[in-house]
Symmetry: C2
Subunit: 340 residues, 2 copies
C-alpha cells in the first residue's frame, strides 16, 4: 500500500471538532504517506485548513456532510435517518474503497450499527467484535475483546474472536505467536458457564491459535495472555469496572496529597511522579477501540478523547490499514474453516 487514506468524522466527540482537527494535523505531520478525508460541516474545518502548510493541505480532502449523529440518537434511528451524517459518510467512504479506514469518536452504538450494516462481516464471521489495548504489568499491553459490540454471543462466536484477536495481536503488536486465553471465573477445567466451556473445547480442538486456557479477571493485567477473549457483555463490564477503580485509586491519591501542609508540599514534589504514573496508566495511549470482523477498518475513539488520545486512534487506524488487518483476518478464518 503506497499511501493510507483515513476518513475522519470530525463531528463526533464531547470536546468539539478542534480536538480532532489538531489530531489530524499531528497525524499528517507524523506519517508522510497519510491522507485524511475530513467528514463534517465546512464551517467547522474551513478556518482550520487555512492554518496548514501547503504540504499538509495537499493531503487533506473535505467531505461536506449536513447531518450529525448525536450522542442521544438510538442506533436504529441513526441508521435509518442519518444517512447524510459525517459518521455514516466516513463509513460509506470505506465501503466504496475511497478510504482505507475510518475513525469516529461519536455515539458508539450508532457507529457499530452503521458499520455492521454498511460494511458487513467478513465471510465466516458471525459478529464483529470491539477490541482494544489495555495496560499490563511491566509496561506491557494486552488485547481484550469483545468490549461490547454484541451482548449475546455463542461459543462459535468466542472462537472467532480468539482467531481475530490472535491475527490482530500479530499484525499490530508484532507478537509472533500471541497467547490467547478465555476469561473465566476460575482457571480449572470445571469452572465456568456453558458458553465458556464450549468455547474452551472448540479452541482445544483447533490448532489455529496458541490457546493457553482460562484466565481470571485479575490476570488480564498481570497474566501471560496477549489476547483475552470474552463475550461483549462481560468484556464491557470488565473494562468499565477497571476504569472505575483505577480512577478511584488515582483520585484518592490526589485527595491525600491535599490534606495538610506536609502533604501539599509533598504533592508539589510528587507532581512529576504522579504525572508519570498517570501517563503510564493513561488511557490516551490505549485510545482507539477497533471494530474487527468487518470488510473494512473502523476505529472508535473515546468520546472525551483529547487531541493526544485522538492521535492514537488515528495511528491505530493507520496501522491496521498498513497491515491490511481485514484481509489477514479473512485469510486466517478461511484456513480455520478448511481445518474443521
Amino acid at each position: 500500500m503506497s499511501k493510507v487514506n483515513i476518513a475522519l468524522d470530525i463531528m463526533g466527540g464531547d470536546l468539539g471538532p478542534h480536538v480532532l482537527l489538531d489530531a489530524a494535523k499531528k497525524s499528517l505531520e507524523h506519517y508522510s504517506d497519510l491522507h485524511i478525508t475530513l467528514c463534517g460541516h465546512s464551517s467547522v474545518y474551513q478556518s482550520f485548513i487555512n492554518t496548514l502548510s501547503g504540504d499538509l493541505k495537499a493531503r487533506i480532502t473535505l467531505e461536506e456532510c449536513d447531518e450529525v449523529v448525536s450522542m442521544s440518537d438510538k442506533p436504529t434511528t441513526a441508521l435509518r435517518q442519518k444517512k447524510q451524517s459525517s459518521m455514516r459518510r466516513a463509513i460509506d467512504l470505506v465501503e466504496q474503497r475511497k478510504a482505507d479506514a475510518c475513525v469516529s469518536s461519536g455515539n458508539t452504538g450508532a457507529l457499530m450499527a452503521m458499520a455492521y450494516y454498511v460494511l458487513k462481516t467478513l465471510p465466516g464471521i458471525s459478529r464483529p467484535a470491539l477490541i482494544s489495548w489495555l495496560p499490563k504489568a511491566q509496561g506491557k499491553k494486552v488485547l481484550l475483546l469483545d468490549l461490547g459490540a454484541s451482548v449475546n454471543c455463542d461459543a462459535e462466536g468466542l472462537f472467532q474472536y480468539a482467531v481475530m484477536g490472535s491475527v490482530f495481536a500479530k499484525l499490530c503488536a508484532g507478537v509472533e505467536s500471541p497467547k490467547v486465553a478465555l476469561l473465566n471465573v476460575g482457571e480449572e477445567d470445571i469452572k465456568g458457564n456453558t458458553l465458556v466451556k464450549h468455547a474452551d473445547q472448540l479452541l482445544r480442538d483447533s490448532q489455529s491459535v496458541d490457546y493457553i486456557g482460562y484466565v481470571e479477571g485479575d490476570q488480564i493485567f498481570a497474566g501471560k495472555a496477549d489476547v483475552v477473549v470474552t463475550d461483549g457483555f462481560t468484556g464491557n463490564i470488565a473494562l468499565k469496572s477497571s476504569e472505575g477503580i483505577a480512577k478511584l485509586v488515582i483520585d484518592e491519591l490526589k485527595r491525600l496529597t491535599t490534606e495538610n501542609f506536609t502533604a501539599r508540599l509533598l504533592s508539589k514534589l510528587a507532581l512529576p511522579f504522579l504525572k508519570k504514573l498517570y501517563q503510564r496508566m493513561n488511557p490516551d495511549q490505549y485510545n482507539g477501540a477497533s471494530l474487527i470482523g468487518l470488510r473494512g477498518i473502523v476505529v472508535k475513539s473515546h468520546g472525551n478523547a483529547n487531541s493526544e488520545a485522538s492521535f492514537y486512534a488515528i495511528k491505530q487506524a493507520y496501522e491496521e490499514a498498513k497491515n491490511a488487518v481485514p484481509d489477514k483476518i479473512k485469510t486466517k478464518i478461511e484456513s480455520v474453516l478448511m481445518e474443521h
Copy 2:
C-alpha cells in the same frame, strides 16, 4: 440474641492457622458476647489456647476435626469425601443451631457447595449469592452480588439477588432505603442482553426494593447505588478485574518511587501517604464475602487474608448473626412473593 457463637474453620487459608487464631483472639477481645468454636486439629490450637487469659479461654470451644479440605479439592470431592473436615464441621454446627454463623478462608468452591448442600436455600430463593463490600468514592462503600456463587442465573434469580442485597445493606450498613441497580453495558433502556432486560422489568414491576435502573461498570465505584446486582459470572469478573487494575496502579506507583535518587527520597516522605492510600483502598476492611440466601450464615474470608483481614471476616459474621440476616431475608422474600 444474648451471645453470638461463631464456628471458625482454622485449617483453611494460605497463611496458616496462626493468622486465624490471632483474629479469633482479637475478635473475642473486641466483642464480650462473642463465643468462638475452633474447628481443626488439636495440635494446631492447643498451644494457642494456653496463651489466652481465663475470660477469653472460657469463650472458646474446641472441635476436633481430622480432615482438611485442600485448595485443590474439587467441590464434588470435598462434598462426598471430606465429611469430617474442619470446613464441613463448621457448616454442620450452623445447621445444628450449635453455632450462629461460620467463617472459613478455605477453598471457595468447596465451601459454597457444602454450604448449599447442608444449609439449603431459604424458601422462595432459587440460588445463594456471594456478596461483598467494595470501596467507593468519598470513603463510601457499595455491595456487589453475585460474585460467583452460581455462574448460570435467570432473571428471577437476579430479582431475588436485588431483594437480598437490599435487606443486607439495610441490616449491615444501616441504609434506610438502599438504592439498588442492575449492572449493564449502558444506562439506556434499550441496552443489555435478554437476561438483564427481563430482570429490569421484574424490578420495575415490584415495589419491594428502591430500584434505580442500570449502572455501567465504572459506576459501581462512583455511582449512587448502594447495591449493584449482576450474575455470578459477570460479578466475579468485574470484581477480579478491578482487583487486578488496582494492584497494577499501586505497583506502578511503588516502582516509580524507586526509580532514581529524588524518587527514593520522595518515597520516604511519601511512605505515610502511600500507607494511608493503601489502607483506604485496602481489601482487608472489605474482607468477608457472605454467602446469602441460605438457612444459615456463611462468611468466606480471602485465602491470603492476614489476621487483620480475618478479623473483619469474623466481624462480618458477628454482625450478620446479631442482625439475624437470614430471618430478615426470609421475611422479606415471603412478603415479595405475597405481592406477586
